[in-house]
């Protein structure tokens, strides 16, 4: 600060009283807190949203109960109910699971550069993700 600027500074300080600051209104804190509570509450999931699964779940339960009741209580032609006839409707199924042969995997002969290439791709992907995280951090 040169001499002239120091004079300007002194002159301005003679006009400005640092103790005389404009103060916030008395009810400012409570008003701001009300606004914060309101905005915080609006971001929370409300009861209507939380209960949006109630109707479909109830609907599924009622449907299932009706089907079960029908199977148990509606009599079939032979005097028994529908439920007892279900096993007769299902044919005997004998499933034979295939036995896959993975022996061919041992016969694969990859060139050496491919291993290094794959490792390099993984490394670059990791590096890219780290950089993205660094520069797209939420402010």
């Amino acid at each position: 600060m040169d001499k002239r600027d120091t004079c300007n500074d002194d002159f301005l300080r003679s006009y400005i009283d640092p103790g005389k600051i404009e103060k916030a209104p008395a009810e400012f804190t409570s008003l701001t807190m009300d606004r914060i509570r309101l905005e915080t509450a609006s971001h929370k999931p409300d009861k209507v949203k939380a209960g949006r699964w109630v109707v479909p779940v109830l609907s599924v339960l009622v449907t299932a109960a009706l089907i079960t009741a029908a199977l148990i209580f509606i009599p079939s032609e032979e005097g028994s109910n529908l439920l007892s006839r279900i096993p007769g409707l299902v044919p005997d199924i004998s499933i034979v699971l295939p036995h896959p042969d993975f022996g061919f995997l041992r016969d694969i002969n990859l060139p050496g550069w491919m291993v290094y290439g794959t490792a390099c791709i993984f490394f670059l992907a990791f590096f890219d993700r780290a950089l993205w995280g660094l520069f797209h951090r939420e402010k």
């Binding site: 300007n8 600051i21 404009e22 914060i36």
Partner: protein, 191 residues
């Protein structure tokens, strides 16, 4: 109850005790309001700016680095909010004729000579502040009212220290010219 420090209450807020934030507001509202008021030039805008700033700060508390100063961080939010609000408002600057220059008007409230002079100077400063740019207003407020050093002002405004010195120099010169003109006009009016 003694204030336990910003970090203590911030941690409480982050733990879900939202009410602890009211103590932070109480602590910083007056300084924040003063900055917002000096930049915007009226109390209604200042109140809105400050409320928005506290809300922004509340929503960003998770991102606040506990090692840094809350007041600097919060001032930065107030500064940015106020500057963008004033820029979007784009009011025409006051002319010198709009200054309530009649010194005698300040005597009508039954105050002492000292109080009257203080009030007169305060209104003169507010008038001069409205005649300079919003950025210069902020620099003058932070430097003279908040008594912050150049480095702290740089942290808040994001302007380099060298640039702040230059801008403060210019702002000072402008303010003095405006005050001198207003005083001269007042002298002519009141003999």
């Amino acid at each position: 109850m003694s204030y336990k420090g910003d970090i203590f209450y911030i941690e409480q807020v982050l733990c879900g005790k939202t009410e602890a934030y009211s103590l932070i507001i109480d602590r910083h509202k007056d300084r924040g309001f003063n900055l917002a008021f000096r930049i915007s030039g009226n109390r209604e805008d200042a109140e809105e700016i400050l409320q928005d700033s506290f809300l922004k700060a509340f929503n960003s508390l998770k991102g606040f680095r506990m090692k840094s100063s809350f007041s600097t961080w919060f001032y930065r939010i107030v500064y940015n909010t106020a500057i963008s609000r004033v820029r979007s408002r784009k009011n025409s600057p006051l002319s010198l004729e709009e200054f309530p220059a009649d010194y005698i008007d300040f005597f009508t409230k039954g105050q002492t000579q000292e109080e009257t002079e203080s009030e007169y100077r305060e209104s003169l400063i507010n008038f001069a502040l409205q005649k300079i740019s919003e950025e210069e207003r902020a620099l003058i407020t932070l430097h003279y009212y908040e008594d912050l050093d150049i480095r702290e002002i740089s942290d808040i405004t994001g302007i380099s220290s060298t640039n702040i010195k230059v801008r403060l120099f210019r702002a000072r010169q402008k303010m003095i010219q405006i005050i001198a003109k207003a005083e001269k006009k007042n002298l002519i009016l009141n003999g």
